[in-house]
């Protein structure tokens, strides 16, 4: 048995699945996005009591924080934990595991074919609850939903990689009336196998997502093209990143930027008067706070190959810099050097931790 079908919508099905896991004692807690019914505010709930699942909104198009980042502080898990997370959050967690910032043991990962999430600005708007039904309809029919995050519309990795459980939502027109739960691993079959529903041997068929994949690819090309700055080289970089206020919020919310003391916030780049005087003598005028553009390019050098394109950095930017789109674009180039895909395989080593003796001979 590899899949279970439930006679309810996909979001309801995920809640039923979580309730089963808790009530049967298969897991001790679940980590899942919730929606406060009184205020409409979203968060991520760590829930041990079945009643707590009534407010669960497991697959709503919202990302408050990257669950992959949150999961780090809950692992290595001593007792079984079920987690509902978007494909990019799972990839982010895998990238963190590679950096020894978490462990996959005792974690049941439940992910789904993702239609993308809306920017937080939209989520906190009054009419957001009205947006959701139409969203699921369009996502089910395999559309790229406008208004979702730039990097979501351009995301080609919306089918989860290596999830224990995959729920079929995007590009699945039946997901509004039926919930297809695919059990991909032995752990999933052991924990979820007892869930009541129509069992079958069907495995997830990525072919159904081809139309959406093509739509996303076209969106990505459009996005990358639109990012081409009007200025060349440095002028272009200044044009894109020159608005930065230096808050480093993009790094804080980034699931890949895990360093507790960021290099760019360390004493290495903490300048004193003589430094500024020297710089000033050469240039005549300086931009303060210093190193704002340097910070973005530096982050690209440090971690762009691991960028999963979750889009949180763009969402939190107070001055509207398309940080995520730029990182996605640059990250594709840096990852391509090593044929690397962030979060594809936990056994795949970080490209900066390994090397081949014969490579890049053109460089030196």
């Amino acid at each position: 048995m590899s899949s279970i079908n439930l006679d309810m919508s996909a979001p309801e099905g995920v809640v039923a699945l979580l309730k089963y896991l808790l009530s049967s004692g298969k897991v001790t807690a679940v980590l899942v996005p919730r929606r406060n019914p009184d205020t409409g505010a979203y968060d991520i709930g760590l829930i041990a009591d079945e009643a707590g699942l009534d407010s669960a909104a497991p697959v709503d198009p919202v990302m408050l924080a990257n669950t992959g980042q949150i999961l780090s502080s809950l692992t290595p898990a001593k007792r079984s934990l079920a987690v509902v997370l978007k494909p990019c959050e799972l990839r982010a967690f895998v990238e963190r595991v590679k950096r020894e910032q978490g462990a996959l043991e005792n974690v049941l990962t439940i992910s789904y074919t993702c239609g993308g999430v809306f920017p937080l600005e939209k989520v906190i708007g009054e009419s957001f609850a009205d947006v959701i039904p139409n969203y699921f309809k369009r996502v089910g029919s395999g559309e790229v939903v406008d208004g979702t995050r730039d990097t979501c519309r351009a995301c080609e990795h919306f089918v989860p990689m290596n999830a224990d459980v995959t729920i079929s939502i995007a590009a699945d027109a039946g997901s509004s009336s039926g919930c297809r739960i695919y059990l991909n691993t032995d752990q999933a079959r052991e924990l979820v196998g007892g869930l009541e529903g129509k069992q079958s041997d069907d495995e997830f068929d990525p072919a159904v997502t081809l139309k959406l994949a093509a739509g996303r690819k076209a969106e990505k090309e459009k996005l990358f093209k639109s990012l081409a700055p009007t200025g060349d080289g440095l002028d272009g970089v200044i044009e894109v990143f020159g608005k930065c206020v230096g808050c480093h919020g993009c790094g804080r919310v980034c699931p890949i930027c895990y360093c507790l003391l960021c290099d760019f916030e360390s004493r290495s780049f903490d300048y004193d008067l003589p430094y500024f005087e020297k710089e000033l003598a050469g240039k005549g005028a300086l931009r303060l706070p210093p190193d704002t553009i340097f910070f973005h390019l530096g982050r690209m050098i440090h971690m762009s190959f691991s960028c999963v394109g979750c889009g949180l950095c763009s969402d939190v930017c107070p001055v509207g810099i398309p940080v995520a789109s730029m990182f996605k674009k640059v990250g594709e180039h840096t990852a391509a050097l090593f044929d690397y895909v962030a979060g594809r395989d936990v056994e795949e080593k970080l490209p900066v931790m390994v090397f081949k003796e014969e490579e890049f001979s053109e460089l030196g």
């Binding site: 080289g233 440095l234 002028d235 272009g236 200044i238 931009r287 390019l297 050098i301 674009k329 030196g364």
Partner: protein, 141 residues
Amino acid sequence: MDKEFTPRIAAILCQWCSYTGADLAGTSRLQYPTSIIAMKVMCSSRVDPVLLLKAYLSGSDGVLLGGCHPGDCHYEVGNYHTRRRFAILKAVFDTLGLESARLKLSWISASEGPKFAQVANDYTEEIKKMGENPSKKKMFL
């Protein structure tokens, strides 16, 4: 004006090979331009590529990173890591349309004094053709 332009090239050299190579160039009385500002580090892999970026954004006309030949690293594998990091740095520059030609990686052994002088001369000429690093004039950088 262009003829008078003397580039300033930040040269970060590993002490076991490239820096010793530079020393040999000096003791052999080989001529190389004063544009090269040599800095000694224990290993090329000690250099976070972000520092090369910093040199570029601070107005270095060229940035040269020198290490031992692949396979000859004093620490066995340091320069292999350097090479990967440098590839990432270049890819970031190229994707953003920055002049990655202002960044250079070179393998120079301790016995290659003439090669060091050659690299220093050739790279200085190359940078002279490119002109000044535009970052020197960018007041909003």
